[in-house]
Symmetry: C2
Subunit: 278 residues, 2 copies
Amino acid sequence: MKDTYYSIGEVAKLANVSVQTLRYYDKIGLFKPVYVEPTTKYRYYHDSQLYHLDLIKSLKYIGTSLEDIMKVQALKAEELMDFLNEQELIIENKLSRLKEIQQNVSRVKKRVRRQLNYPAFGEVVILEEDEMLILQATSNNLSPLDLLNASYSKLKRIIEEEEGIIDNSYGGIYAYQGYELVDEIKYTHLFTPLLTDKRIITLSNEMEVTKIPAGTYVGIIFTFSPDIYFSNLKKLLNYVDQYQLKVTGDIYELFMPTSYSPNEQEDYTVEIKIRLRE
Amino acid sequence: MKDTYYSIGEVAKLANVSVQTLRYYDKIGLFKPVYVEPTTKYRYYHDSQLYHLDLIKSLKYIGTSLEDIMKVQALKAEELMDFLNEQELIIENKLSRLKEIQQNVSRVKKRVRRQLNYPAFGEVVILEEDEMLILQATSNNLSPLDLLNASYSKLKRIIEEEEGIIDNSYGGIYAYQGYELVDEIKYTHLFTPLLTDKRIITLSNEMEVTKIPAGTYVGIIFTFSPDIYFSNLKKLLNYVDQYQLKVTGDIYELFMPTSYSPNEQEDYTVEIKIRLRE
């Protein structure tokens, strides 16, 4: 290739970089003119230098810091391969994190849509449910009116570490039986939905990853208040009795916040549901 | 759920957030205690507030600014759906950009690996080549020793806009014939490899996206210097004559930088190749 020199303005035009950027690159030693005229201080760049800007721009594009770009410039081809392999790993990690976030957002959308489109509050409805992956912890002696957000802090911490949260719903499981008083209800498990099917490796003894099976459920949904919790549950249980439905042994309950503003009264919808035998 | 209050330290533990962060959230109005004791200034949080931290942490995880989180907190469920739809789009864009970068890096790796593993410099070799997608511009009256990095600035600008560059190689195409002098060579086209098969929509008249076909090539690779350019080309042309190879009408040339340091003498390898007829 030919011997040709350019001013800083010409390089800016040719390489689609601002003059300010070129001055800055000169200052930090990232990309320097081959010659600076001593009196005028004009910078002169050689044509053959231009391709260095390709590398700089490419590495900036993939998110490399200017400091690291300088390190890359010093690499020989073999070392550049190592660098590129590293970049590939970083990109793969970013991709799988993004895919996870995508899954999360789509699940939350599904939940919000469900809350918005629920056919009737305070009425028993038939639900065709997909399988729900959950992280559950054994519980003892907690009843619905004793439940705290704090009761979920261990579960949430694991979800946060593994998945970065996003679905903030809180679940409980208790045995199917004919309750007469709300205090008779004792959760066997508390759970929170898992958003991805990543294997969780930090589980303690009292926790496990399991599934709420797909199938047909009878359920009731209502805005939580301590006064009406039990009457809604009773309505559901009476419905099962009245139609002599064959159900499986567990009752699933899910609390979902409906307001996200910290200035408003908290507002939860509760969904209680029982799976029918096939 | 039950009426229970926590100190800032308890919330920090329960929600896995630092006390400093909670103080900051209070200050900016993102997450405030329900009660502050007037004399001690102790903050008291209600249990039902805890889930707000889920939302805050989740949105932070997907990259939402604190300012935007405050806006999201004020949304009703319907509006939250719009927000989530928007987030999905943002995520999709990020994903496709990352996939592009991944493709780019893998292509550059391939090129560097090829440079490293080339069987013999200055010797004619047989090459089994994959198809190469290129962006080419017509050229007139440029010959190899007149070629400039600057000659590629228009091509590079388009690649940069569409793909963010990364592969910094520079190509030329000229007719296959029996040259006697280097100045007889005139490029018909200059090109730069395309890394992705995204459709480019900003093409001007003299440019087009095309392919260097897959197939068997005879080629020669050497470290560029004006003195040896022509003798290497002649060696390749003589080889074709000597073995009476049937070749197609174009000679392809690719310049690839081997040093990335702006402080070293520029160093290019040149690959010249001719495709054999099937």
